[in-house]
């Protein structure tokens, strides 16, 4: 005992000594025949599951490109850092990718918070940035490309469906942060556009597990439908308690987030049946690209992989969009790639036609309205080529190329 204790103490001290030594010099990781890309997702912590999926689809995209001869004659090399759902670490890795690894492009950031931490750093050190997560909209920055959906693309269809099919009275439950706040403003606007009204809005911190008081308030308000804009571990507890109180038989539910945390896998089908969602991507999309993609993906990552949502697909499509721009520009140089993207690029992707909007640096794409049945989203309706009209209302990078901020878009 004594011996092991002493040796442990020694090794502990030794570890600390090595740790305290100044960092070794590391030169840029790029070799001449390589283009380096950074994957900066949260692979641990709160966003771990979705981060891993996004990193996997990114890996698949890069491997496919490399297998088919690479990009402008070079192989893509990926450096992967785990943001640990920690903003300070996000900032450090953004600095590392830009300054030490000197990467051609950074893909990553899941929460809006980590994006807003990394975006200024990547601007400052002139490193191209792709943000692949659905978000509240409004980012206007020539160095940044947002390749997933914003509320005007998906939430508009969702709320319009709710008002038309279920009734005019809605109730909002949202996560208490930027995305939840702004999205619920959009929900209100879209409901009003359809002649509906919102009877109540509640915001929740991420760790709330008891929805008892909320259920009582919802019942007192008696809406036709509830829309959930919840993230984290919270949604599961809500759907479960909502069903346990028997409310899912009386009040319809639609969601801007359901499924991206694989909630349907844990809930029973009686708890999740009837929930309506609207996304750019879900595995049930029926087209040749998607069938091929799923085949390759499962071959690479196994058949037991949980169903992919819009987020990992955005990573995949984002890499493909960037690669197409590099091909078009004939170079991975930042400004050339930006100009290529601004010139407009359109791809056939698993989610359908996927096109870069050069004015806003956002994408025009198909969105699909679906209802969960037996844990699978059954597509009800597809809306082709939805433009990012929310961001377009405030952002014009062709006119104002030096604009650099996230607008809070005035709703109403």
């Amino acid at each position: 005992m004594k011996l092991s204790r002493r040796s442990l103490m020694k090794s502990g001290a030794a570890a600390a000594l090595t740790a305290a030594l100044p960092m070794p010099f590391v030169k840029s990781v790029a070799a001449a025949d390589e283009i380096v890309m950074a994957s900066l997702y949260d692979l641990s912590g709160a966003f771990q599951e979705v981060g891993k999926q996004m990193n996997d689809t990114l890996t698949l995209a890069v491997e496919d490109i490399n297998a088919s001869g690479g990009l402008i004659g070079k192989k893509i090399k990926v450096v992967t850092y785990d943001l640990q759902s920690n903003l300070q670490v996000s900032a450090q890795y953004a600095q590392q990718a830009a300054l030490r690894d000197k990467v051609a492009v950074v893909h990553g950031g899941i929460s809006s918070a980590s994006r807003e931490v990394m975006r200024p750093i990547l601007d400052k050190y002139k490193t191209l940035y792709f943000y692949d997560t659905p978000y509240e909209g409004g980012v206007c920055d020539r160095n940044t490309f947002c390749v997933s959906t914003t509320p005007s693309q998906t939430v508009a269809k969702l709320i319009s469906h709710a008002c038309k099919t279920w009734g005019k009275k809605g109730y909002i439950l949202a996560a208490d942060y930027n995305y939840g706040q702004i999205t619920s403003d959009w929900v209100k606007k879209f409901a009003h556009d359809e002649g509906g009204e919102i009877l109540g809005t509640e915001f929740f911190p991420f760790d709330v597990t008891n929805f008892g008081s909320t259920l009582a308030k919802i019942q007192a308000a008696a809406p036709d439908w509830v829309v959930t804009v919840l993230v984290g571990g919270t949604p599961l507890a809500f759907y479960r308690q909502f069903a346990a109180a028997g409310l899912n038989k009386k009040i319809h539910v639609c969601s801007t987030t359901f499924g991206s945390g694989n909630e349907q896998a844990v809930l029973t089908s009686s708890e999740s049946d009837g929930i309506v969602v609207c996304y750019n991507y879900m595995e049930t999309i029926d087209n040749a690209q998607n069938a091929d993609f799923l085949k390759r993906f499962h071959k690479r990552f196994g058949d037991n992989y949980p169903p992919l949502s819009e987020l990992p697909m955005s990573s995949y499509q984002g890499v493909q969009m960037w690669a197409a721009a590099v091909r078009k520009a004939g170079s991975a140089d930042r400004m050339k790639v930006i100009q290529a993207l601004e010139g407009g690029i359109s791809l056939e992707m698993p989610s359908g036609k996927f096109a870069m909007d050069g004015i806003t640096h956002h994408c025009t794409m198909d969105v699909h309205l679906a209802e969960y049945k037996d844990k699978v989203p059954k597509i009800i309706e597809t809306f082709a080529q939805q433009p990012p009209s929310d961001t377009a209302a405030v952002c014009n990078l062709t006119k104002n190329p030096n604009d650099n901020q996230q607008y809070v878009i005035k709703v109403n």
Binding site: G12, A19, Y81, L87, N178
Partner: protein, 347 residues
Amino acid sequence: MKIAGIRLDLIVPGVCGLALLFGLPIFLDLFSLLQVTLYAIMAILALSLAFIWGYGGILCLGHSAFFGLGAYAYAIAVINIGESTAPFLIAILVPTLAAAAVGYFMFYGRISDVYVGVMTLTLALILFNVVNSTSGAQYHIGKAPIGGYNGLPNVPGLNVPFDPDNSLDPGDMYYLCMGLLIVVYFGLRWLLTTRFGRVAVAIRENEKRVEFIGYDSRLHKLATFTIGGGLAGLAGCLFVNWGAYVSPTTFSMMQSAQVIIWVLVGGVGTLFGPMIGAVALSWLTVEVGSQQLIDANLLFGAILLVFVLLVPRGIMPVLIDRVWGRISLPRRPVFTAPPVAAREGKR
């Protein structure tokens, strides 16, 4: 530690500090310099807790409260004012006043040690909860939205005092943070040689006796706690300048836990050790994220456990023992709380 009449304990860190301050910018690339700047900031944060916990004997489980207050105070002030001289001072003043108020509430209420820990933890939890739920547009102070979970991105950095057009570049920031670290370290060293500092340490050893001698232990604890709070606020202010953002995670339990781990690993009752702990473990956090083998929580949990059980004195005292041997045995840090029974004998 005197050899041939020379105060090695002052000269060694002094020379090291100056060498780092002026040497590193020559040898390091921009990225490494940014990292070292961050480590210097974290070392200041570690010193603030090392002082109140290691020397004052006050267990502050919610130290992130003051770190976060400094960070938010700077961000909100600078967004409203624009020129950064006043915001810098406000960022130190706000957490100092907060620490003074909380300290008055606790120490003049004669709340026992463990409950002081609970109180500070609760304070940090309240701040975290409140700030975390202010994402709505209705929550703003002047021009600055508080931002809830996302916090405030794009916070303007420091400028040369009273010259708003002349903002500090990463090199300047490095000199500022490293310089302040050296000042804080030697400042605390000096403070501990004064009567106030010695009485603060004596309170850690035996509060009752200090009272019997005729010193007001409440006042001394309050002052110790306030100084620590202010320094944590300074670190928070610098942190915002480093990352140009502030978020509620600056108030989080994890942030408090980190500081405690740094101090514990480095050595409670030393100043140098916690700085080493802060640098080593911050570096380790980044290294962990470059590989996907070990979960960060797993690693830090294991480190904390191992140190509490096997190296409760921390690295620094153990190292000093090895280097200087038994002759110049430094004071053993009194970290061990007396048994419960003895504590509850107090009124």
